[in-house]
Amino acid sequence: MTTIPQTTHASRTAGIPSILKTAVINALVALVLFSLMVGIRTEAGSDGQLTYWTRFGELASLVAVVFGGSIVIELLRQWIGPSGAERLVPPAVHTGMAFVGRFLAPALLIFALLVPVIFYNQRYILDLAILVLTYVMLGWGLNVVVGLAGLLDLGYVAFYAVGAYSYALLATNFGWSFWVCLPLAGILAAFWGMLLGFPVLRLRGDYLAIVTLAFGEIIRLVIINWQELTGGPNGVSGIPRPTLLGIPLDNSDDGLAAKLGIEYSPTHRIVFLFYLILAMALLTNWVTIRLRRLPIGRAWEALREDEVACRALGINTTSTKLTAFATGAMFGGFAGAFFATRQGFISPESFTFQESALVLAIVVLGGMGSQLGVALAALTMIGGFELFRGLETYRMLVFGMAMVLIMIWRPRGLIGHRAPTVFLTKAKAISSDLVKEGHG
C-alpha cells in the first residue's frame, strides 16, 4: 500500500487518443444532459402559454468545461496511480497518523474534560458539545447492534423516544427524580428492544432493516396518537431539570450556587449537563469495551462473521441477538432520558427517521465496531453541520459531498480495522477487508 510498484508505469501512461476518447464521450453525455436542462429554457408566459428561448452559448461553455475537466481528471488519475486517493498519502504521513492514532483517544478525552473550562463563556460551544456527546452516546449504543452484532437497525430512534418519554412522563406525572428515572428509562427501552426483537430476529439483512424502520415509525405514530398519555403532537413540557444529588441547579435559596455561596449563573446547569452526558457516554463506552471481551461480546462478533458456524458451536443465536438489541436499546434509552431533561420539552418531532439515519451514518462513517471511530464520526457529522451553517442553502449539498468523499477515501469508515479481544503474544489489528459487515 505504501510502495508504488514500478510495473504499473506502462499502464499508467495511457496514450493521448484514449484520453481524448474518454473526454469526447463525457462531453457528449454532458451535451445530451445539458441540452434540455440548460440549452432550452422554458417558462410560462403572461397568458399562461409556453415561452422558450435557447441558450446555446452557455451550453457550449458547459460542454467545453466537461471536456477540459475530463482531460484534467484523466491526467490526474494517471499521475496518482490506479488505486486512487490512497496513493496521495505519503508513507511518512501514514506513520505519523499511526502515531497520532495511539494518542488520539486519551487526547480527545482530556480535551472533552476541559471543554467547559476552555469555553466557559461560550454558551454556543457548550451546547454544541452537549449535542455532539449525545450523538456519541447514541452512536456507541447503536454500535453494539450494528457494529458488533451486525444487525442493521434503522429504527434506533424508537428506543431514544422510549427513554425520553419514560423519563418525561414519570417525572411530570409522579414527580420522580431524574436519578430514579434514568435506570428505569434504560430498562424500559431495553424491554421494548426485546419486544421488537422477538418477531424481528427471524428476519435477515434488508428485511430486518425494513421491519426495524417500521418499528421506529410505529413508536412515533403511537406517541402522536395516544393523546391522553403522551400529549400527542403537543409533546410533554415542563420536564424537571436534573439535580446534583437532590440539590437543584437553579437560582433558589437551596440551589447549588446559594449553598456554595457563589453567584448564580445559568452556565452552571449547562456545565453540569455537559459532565452528565460525558459521564453517561463514557459509561456506555466502558461497558461496551468490557462486553466485547466477555463471551457475549465475542458471540456478537462471531454472529456478524458467520451465523451458521455460531449455531454449529452451540451458541443460541436468538438470545444472543436479543441481548445485542436490548443492550443497544438500553443505551438509547439512557440518551433519551438525558435528552428529555436537557430540553425540558419533548415532542414526536424530535424522533423522526432522520435521527435514526443520522446515528446510523455516524456508526458507518466511524467504522463499524470502532469506539474511537464512532466518536470521531459524531464530532465530524454534528460539528460539520454547524461548520457549514454559513453556507445556508448549500449546507446539505456540501455536507453530502464531504460524506461521499470520506466514504470513497475510507470505504470501511474512518477506523476500519478491528482490534482483537484476546491475544497470546501480541494484539495485531485486523484489516477491514477480512471483517464482515453481517447481514442480520
Partner: protein, 277 residues
C-alpha cells in the same frame, strides 16, 4: 455392537418437496472409532450430516446419540444449536466456515462460549470482573492454546483466521470444533483441497483425536487415501441409500461399491481404489 455405538441412525428419510435425498438410511457409528460416510457426489451424505447436526429436520426416522454415561438423546427432536450444546455433537463444514475477521485464538474462544457464559454469570459477573470468571477465561485460553499447538498453528494464534492458508483454515476449523469438547465430531470433507502432505498430517491429527481423547468421529470424505487409512468402519451411500458397509478392506473389494461409487468403468474404478490403499 449396539452397546458400543454412540450414534444410531434408524430409517432416516429426508425429502425436499418431491425429491428424496435420503431414503430409510440406517447405520451406526461406534464409540471411540472413526466411521466414514462415502459415496458419489449427490449421494446424500451432507444431507445426513445436516440431519444429525440439526440443520435439517428429518422427514422420518430416528437418530439416537448415547453418551458415555448411558444417557440417550433423540437428535431428531433437538434443533440447531441445542445439538451442539446439549448433545455435544460438533461439526465442520464442506466450505470452511470460520470467523474470518477474528483471530485464530478468538475463533477457539467463541467455541467455548457456553462454558464461558456460565462462568461469567451470564455476563453480569463477568462485567464486574469476578475472579472466578478470570480463572475460567484463563483456562479457556489454555485449552485454545493447547489446540493451536496440536494443529500446529500456535505461531499464528494472533492472526486473523481469514488470513491463514487454506490448509491451516481446515485444521483451525477442526480445532474449533474440538474446543466445544464434543462426544461426536462430524467432519464434512476435511481433506478437500489439501495436498498429499497436508492430507497425511490430517490423518495423523484425526487418529490422535481418536486415540488420545477417545472422541468418536463421523467423517464424509472423497480422498480415499485418508478414508482407507484411518477409518474403522465405512458406510457407502448412493442415491440416498446405503449400498454397503464394513471395514475398509471389505468395502474396497465390494463390486457394488466400485460400480456405484466410481461409475461403470470397473477397471478404472479398481485402479483408483487401489491407488488409495
Amino acid at each position: 455392537m449396539s452397546g458400543e455405538s454412540i450414534l444410531k441412525v434408524d430409517k432416516l428419510t429426508m425429502r425436499f418437496g418431491g425429491i428424496v435425498a435420503v431414503h430409510e438410511l440406517s447405520f451406526a457409528a461406534e464409540r471411540r472409532k472413526i466411521t466414514a460416510l462415502i459415496g458419489p457426489n449427490g449421494a446424500g451424505k451432507t444431507t445426513v450430516f445436516n440431519c444429525i447436526t440439526g440443520f435439517y429436520k428429518p422427514s422420518g426416522g430416528t437418530i439416537r446419540l448415547t453418551h458415555d454415561d448411558g444417557r440417550q438423546i433423540a437428535l431428531e427432536r433437538l434443533n440447531d444449536f441445542r445439538i451442539a450444546k446439549q448433545a455435544k455433537v460438533a461439526r465442520t463444514f464442506q466450505n470452511i466456515r470460520l470467523f474470518p475477521g477474528m483471530t485464530a485464538l478468538e475463533n477457539l474462544m467463541v467455541a467455548q462460549h457456553n462454558a464461558l457464559m456460565r462462568a461469567s454469570g451470564f455476563t453480569f459477573l463477568g462485567l464486574i470482573g469476578v475472579p472466578t470468571y478470570r480463572s475460567a477465561e484463563a483456562s479457556a485460553i489454555a485449552l485454545a492454546t493447547e489446540w493451536l499447538r496440536r494443529v500446529n498453528l500456535l505461531d499464528r494464534a494472533d492472526d486473523a483466521a481469514g488470513n491463514l492458508a487454506y490448509g491451516d483454515q481446515r485444521r483451525l476449523e477442526i480445532a474449533r470444533a474440538m474446543c466445544t469438547e464434543p462426544a461426536l465430531l462430524c467432519l464434512d470433507e476435511p481433506a478437500a483441497g489439501l495436498n498429499a502432505r497436508e492430507s497425511a498430517a490430517l490423518s495423523e491429527l484425526l487418529l490422535s483425536i481418536r486415540n488420545e481423547l477417545g472422541t468418536s468421529i463421523l467423517l464424509i470424505e472423497h480422498d480415499m487415501s485418508v478414508v482407507m487409512e484411518i477409518s474403522d468402519h465405512i458406510v457407502v451411500m448412493d442415491h440416498g441409500m446405503k449400498i454397503a458397509q464394513g471395514s475398509p478392506r471389505e468395502v474396497r473389494d465390494d463390486p457394488k461399491v466400485i460400480a456405484a461409487y466410481l461409475g461403470t468403468d470397473e477397471e478404472e474404478a479398481i485402479a483408483v481404489m487401489e491407488s488409495g490403499s
